[in-house]
Amino acid sequence: MDDPLLIAPCNALVNHTKPQPFELSFYTSSCQSCKKLYLYPSFCLMHSNRKIVHIDMDAFFASVEQLDDPTLRGKPLIVGGSPDSRGVVAACSYEARKFGIHSAMSAAKAARLCPHAIFTRPRMSRYREVSAQIMEIFHEYTDLIEPLSVDEAFLDLTVNTFCEPSASILANKIRRDIFSRTGLTASAGVSCNKFLAKVATDINKPNGITVIPPHLVLDFLGRLPIGKFYGVGSATEKKMERIGVKNGSDLRRFTREELVFHFGKSGKFFFDICRGEDPRPVESSSVRKSIGSETTLSEDILEMEIIHQILEQQADSVAHSLARRNFGGYTLTLKVRYHDFTTITRSATMKSPLFSSEDIMLCLPRLLAATEAGQRKVRLLGITVSTLFTKNTTPIQLRLPFTMEYTDNW
């Protein structure tokens, strides 16, 4: 079950069928163990016994930095602007939070609160790379994923590839998968809609999980401070306080009409949400985001020459797909799975777009050099081009036709 390869073929069967003429669509899923295909009418997904999981990485940027540079571990680390600029803290490690530092605080103030804090600039491309790895894990569970940012996503696990009815078991398994494959911790919130799942995540952060089962929803919301409600910012919060609403149970005393009178359209939403009703579906965008090719090798390979040959074939095939769709892409990702199944990805975003296999091959050496290919036996190789755009009349800066000698140390 832990073997990601076992999941892959099964996963391929999971898809959403297009809405049928009768407006009744089906969500299909295949079971991990019995290989049976299940059909669920799509209205099931809107029902209150949905199983929605919200996953949020803990201090994501800072944790990635600490992961990549062991000397930063256990130290107050601030990712963001420099302390002598007007920059702000984008993220900070939990060690830094002990000093009262939080994100969006000015970097200068953070430096005052903790003079020995280490400041570093964000490396978005690296975070996106890790994010892609995490998304890949999510996809092993369901295709109903709604990413909110690089480090946060909603998953609808009502139907999942493991046929596991307990969302909390799944959420914990996802957190374990994330930790074992990336070395990073995540927190999870489990409940029956998006709003509750997201609120729940914050409760046992970091590295924790909170489950709000349906029978406790009303109780939970009753005690939830009004500021924590979805759609309640500081302005609305003040307005709420003025009409005497401090928490969910205060809000429930108002009729739908009264709330609409006070808050306009959002009033209806507040009326529902304080009763635990948030019908918003988990929406995975269906726009094509990447084009890739990957190959599991017939035997584990150490020779760089062969690796190079395979990558060249893959580059050809990716370039072909790009050309067929009239796409170009700015981001190149190389995936390497070693013989022991540990999988890594290395990616880079270019200034000028990639179209041809030459473009791809030119940018690959640097990514490959960041792997242990050639030192560790390789089991699987993959190339993906993302940040796609449709070719139009924009002029394109051509690259110098550099060739590299493919020596062992490239």
Binding site: R121, P395, F402, W410
Partner: protein, 376 residues
């Protein structure tokens, strides 16, 4: 012992000024935005480092009491710059605070103890070779503009490749830079004994190091340099700079140079061309600065188009007899190349609208610039 010294304003200001780029790097350990001041003997030794480039320099001073301290580099620089007096006195008080007196002004400035300041890298004393500074200034000026920025992701292009070569007619030093779209090569014959320069098979000097090396040379007539496996050292008798070298490969640039056929040549007056490009650039789009270059029978027509503004057109007489060509280019690439050249007439070898264009001249000895066109 608390540090206490008096230092001439101008000498101190010069010293601190040379450290500003190194110490004001964003996003490093807090201590690295400080300069280390060591007072001993007959002067101060100032040290700054961003762990990639380290600079240590001597400033004569009256030392009443020797000692070490680190002070915020930018702040102490500003204090000295704004002071109206001939000299500045620094006196350490408690907890790494200092009192700075300059004429009628007094400042209390918080420093940090020097024990957390990183050790200055050690280097070998042999193998230094002396060169006149203008050699490096010339080499650097001709390639610095086409070094890839940190975001570029091809190979080790964020560094300059440094090479030496013994030819029949003399000894040569060479710098090569490329951002993947253009390539600049500059070589110079030098009098110095290059045998003692122990270069790696691939010697890559990062952009920051190149910038600081240039700055170092600008205020000096001659400098000594030496290379070790992981670092290079530039020094004179007052200052020493250690630059960490980048490890990696550099693309086979010679293959590109050799691939350009030196046949289809347009001879263009450099200054009028430069001025024309500046005019045309007024109407290019911001990111790519795309211009269209049409060459046909002793005439070159430059045009640019901006969706919001309108368009521009400029005509230049040139010497050209080859087949008519229409090419797209990043205007900035041409501007930057022509700006560092000194000749009256440039030779531009253009073979097609998707092959590299090579620019050189008889006067600009050792310099080659290659620019890839844009596909319009």
């Amino acid at each position: 012992m608390p540090l206490q010294c008096t230092v001439a304003k101008n000498a101190f200001l010069d010293g601190l000024n040379s450290l500003q780029n190194i110490t004001n790097k964003k996003g490093t350990m807090a201590i690295l935005s400080n300069v280390l001041i060591e007072a001993q003997g007959n002067g101060l030794v100032l040290t700054g480092t961003d762990l990639e480039v380290g600079l240590r320099l001597f400033v004569p001073a009256d030392i009443a009491s020797s000692g070490n301290i680190t002070l915020p580099s930018k702040k102490i620089f500003e204090i000295v710059r704004e002071s109206g007096s001939e000299s500045v006195t620094i006196e350490e008080t408690e907890n790494s605070w200092v009192v700075i007196t300059a004429g009628h002004s007094t400042y209390n400035l918080a420093g940090m103890a020097n024990d957390e300041y990183p050790e200055f890298p050690e280097y070998e004393d042999d193998n230094f070779v002396s060169f006149e500074s203008h050699i490096f200034l010339d080499l650097i000026d001709k390639v610095i503009f086409s070094i890839a920025s940190e975001q570029e992701n091809i190979y080790s292009l964020t560094s300059v490749l440094f090479e030496k070569e013994k030819k029949e007619d003399g000894n040569y030093l060479r710098m090569i830079s490329s951002d993947g779209h253009r390539l600049s090569i500059m070589e110079k014959d030098v009098a110095g004994e290059i045998d003692n320069l122990r270069l790696n098979p691939v010697t890559l000097i990062p952009k920051k190091g190149i910038q600081e090396w240039k700055k170092f040379c600008e205020s000096r007539d001659s400098v000594e340099i030496s290379f070790e496996e992981k670092q290079m050292v530039v020094r004179d008798n007052q200052a020493v700079m250690v630059i960490r070298l980048k490890q990696g490969e550099f693309p086979q640039y010679r293959a590109i140079v050799n691939a350009v056929q030196l046949e289809n040549c347009a001879r263009i007056n450099r200054i009028p061309f430069l001025e024309s490009l500046k005019r045309i650039n007024l109407f290019t789009e911001d990111i790519f600065h795309t211009i269209q270059l049409k060459i046909d029978n002793d005439k070159m027509t430059l045009t640019s188009q901006n969706a919001d503004l309108g368009n521009a057109k400029d005509v230049q007489p040139i010497e050209y007899t080859g087949t008519p060509l229409t090419l797209g280019f990043n205007c900035r690439y041409f501007l930057e190349t022509l700006q560092v050249m000194e000749c009256e007439t440039v030779e531009a070898y253009i073979n097609s609208n998707n092959s590299p264009c090579l620019i050189q001249s008889d006067v600009d000895k050792g310099f080659i610039s290659i620019i890839m066109p844009m596909q319009l």
